[in-house]
């Protein structure tokens, strides 16, 4: 059965290219993707996770305000009895940060996995397969294909 993942850019951020490519890659890998797009609030993530009975929530942030935007996010998920893997990826702090420190900070906030902006879509796909127990047979035949867009 295909797993459902919620995808979106949190807060006031409008960087769309990364999630567009991630959306294509996840869909090609056999996931049901609910792409909330840019400028998505915490409430919209939570509502979508409930409405779609999601298996994971993937949060993207490129503009440096991720910490302020994500404060209280996991409390909100918990108060709605949502217990599911949460990933965050991108440029997570303003300026030239120390990545290990940034990663630990977001792990402490409750994120299951924290990715930097160099992450390839395949790494997120592999992590999801591991965290959601997607079996090898389920993955069979759902390898990323080139998606033909021209006619």
């Amino acid at each position: 059965m295909p797993r459902t993942v919620i995808l979106g850019v949190i807060g006031s951020d409008a960087h769309v290219v990364g999630i567009t490519i991630l959306d294509q890659a996840l869909s090609a890998a056999g996931f049901d993707v609910v792409n909330l797009g840019v400028q998505t609030s915490q409430a919209e993530f939570v509502d979508a996770a409930k409405a779609h009975d999601a298996d994971a929530v993937l949060v993207s942030s490129l503009y440096g305000h991720a910490e302020q935007d994500c404060r209280g996010f996991h409390d909100r998920l918990a108060s709605d009895s949502l217990d599911l893997p949460t990933y965050i990826g991108g440029n997570l702090a303003v300026g030239q940060d120390d990545w290990d420190e940034t990663r630990r900070r977001f792990e402490r906030m409750g994120f299951t996995r924290v990715f930097d902006s160099e992450t390839e879509p395949q790494e997120a796909i592999d992590a999801l397969c591991l965290d959601l127990d997607v079996s090898a047979t389920e993955r069979e035949g759902s390898e990323p294909q080139s998606i033909r867009v021209t006619t």
Partner: protein, 478 residues
């Protein structure tokens, strides 16, 4: 219904009054007193004067931190150590969303913690006096750079605060920057900003306006960027703007970039009224940068070289730390100096590059086709034409997050690395133009032994940060 007509002074005043309750600092805005204040500024701080009288490309970085003292320190460093000719103030992303309370929270936190918790300078929160203190303490002319769809209050406060240049426009600060704002509304909001600019201009304060040329910053076909810049210029001119800077973002192919900058200037001068002074700005690469600073300097250098050949009036520079987000001030200054070195070494060389004229003619033909469709869809009214063009997809932007655009256009590089159009959607380009794009892309597909696909687009998006221009297949490619 929004029409491309000049706002009356009473309408302008009514809107200004209605904005005064949005944030306490708005109360301090006084137009007549502000005109007087601008009159007290010396010539070297008059943005339009400095830009329009320059005889070679002027350099301007991006820079914005939340605290006033730190912003002064940052801009002074970029002026003294980077050799910037024009200064910026980049506004934080909460202000861009009109979330002044969140910006205040970030500003308070920055003041308490000593860390830059916002990605820019919250000018509305600093208010008229804060902006004036900034304008007075920095050594050069200064522009507001942001990304705010509804920038009416930001314009009121920063113009009163002494800023004489303001980036953005109804399309370029909606389509790439927001999800659900209506285009009709942003056109109205920018008519206010442009009319306010026009009114200052009539009172002798020549405020410069700059539509944001790079749009989504990701493989935007030059004809689309140019058409949108000219449309925003036309809308601004109606409201009385006289100093207009049209922009374009580097795509990395030298021939296409030089051709595009020449086409931008030619069409800008042709389409805009004679009493509008048109200048051009070239943005160094706006897409993903290489993580390696040495390689990033290579990308910046190519931008500098392109500027030396194309001679735009202004260059917006990047820093070698672009990959990691907001750079340190030292890295930001380094990006300015790298660009300067390339321009100064190349600008007097007489170099002929094959293919520029042909590419320029192709870009102009395509941009004209888009512009003509806007005019005809609106029965001569550019505001209405813009709305219909985006509704129908006759005008469209690749990777647009906004629901106001179809977002059906997909670009890809051809075999020489020029940006072509792979998916046209309903874009107002005729079959002959489309066929030229297809032929170029087919040549690449043949070279790579694969079909044109989204995979190709995704590879192109990553290519420069991976150290190349064209996103060739990684495995089995020699």
């Amino acid at each position: 219904m929004v029409r491309d007509e000049q706002l009356t002074e009473s309408e302008l005043g009514r809107i200004a009054e209605s904005l005064r309750d949005d944030w306490p600092t708005a109360q301090a805005v006084d137009f007549e007193e502000s005109v007087e204040y601008h009159g007290s500024l010396p010539d070297e701080k008059r943005f339009a004067h400095v830009l329009e009288s320059a005889d070679k490309p002027l350099l301007q970085p991006r820079a914005g931190v939340p605290r006033l003292d730190k912003q002064v320190e940052l801009l002074t460093h970029l002026w003294e150590e980077g050799g910037a000719d024009l200064l910026p103030t980049t506004i934080d992303s909460y202000t861009r969303d009109n979330e002044y309370a969140k910006a205040q929270e970030g500003l308070d936190e920055a003041r308490e913690s000593g860390e830059d918790t916002l990605n820019g300078f919250p000018a509305v929160n600093h208010g008229v006096d804060g902006c004036r203190e900034l304008v007075e303490r920095v050594p050069g002319p200064i522009e507001v750079r942001h990304g705010t769809p509804d920038a009416r209050l930001l314009a009121m406060v920063t113009f009163a605060g002494g800023f004489q240049s303001f980036e953005g426009g109804p399309i370029s600060y909606n389509i790439p920057y927001t999800k659900s704002r209506s285009l009709a509304e942003t056109i109205e909001h920018w008519q206010f900003v442009d009319r306010l600019t026009g009114l200052y201009t009539e009172f002798g304060v020549r405020i410069n306006r700059e539509p944001f040329g790079p749009l989504t910053g990701t493989l935007v076909p030059p004809s689309i960027a140019i058409a949108i810049g000219v449309v925003e210029g036309l809308l601004a001119a109606t409201q009385g703007v006289k100093s207009l800077t049209l922009g374009y973002g580097q795509v990395g192919n030298l021939v296409q970039d030089v051709a595009a900058l020449r086409a931008l200037r030619a069409l800008g001068e042709e389409y805009l009224p004679d009493d509008v002074t048109v200048t051009t700005v070239f943005h160094e690469w706006m897409g993903g940068f290489p993580p390696d600073e040495a390689r990033a300097n290579g990308v910046i250098s190519l931008g500098g070289a392109t500027a030396a050949f194309a001679r735009p009036d202004k260059v917006i520079t990047k820093s070698p730390q672009e990959f990691r987000g907001v750079p340190t001030m030292e890295a930001n200054a380094a990006g300015l100096r790298t660009t300067r070195q390339l321009i100064d070494m190349l600008i007097e060389q007489d170099v002929t590059i094959d293919g520029i004229d042909e590419e320029q003619a192709f870009i102009e033909r395509s941009a004209r086709s888009l512009l003509d469709s806007v005019v005809s869809l609106g029965d001569g009214d550019v505001a209405q034409g813009t709305l219909r063009a985006f509704e129908t997809g006759a005008l469209d932007v690749p990777f647009a997050p906004s629901q106001s655009a179809k977002g059906a256009v997909l670009p890809a590089r051809d075999d020489k690395g020029r940006v072509r159009i792979l998916e046209f959607g309903e874009l107002a380009l005729d079959d002959e133009i489309r066929e030229i794009h297809r032929t170029h892309l087919d040549a690449r597909a043949k070279t790579e032994g694969r079909a044109c696909s989204f995979r190709m687009v995704a590879d192109d998006v990553d290519a420069i940060s991976d150290g190349r221009l064209i996103g060739r297949p990684k495995e089995g490619w020699t």
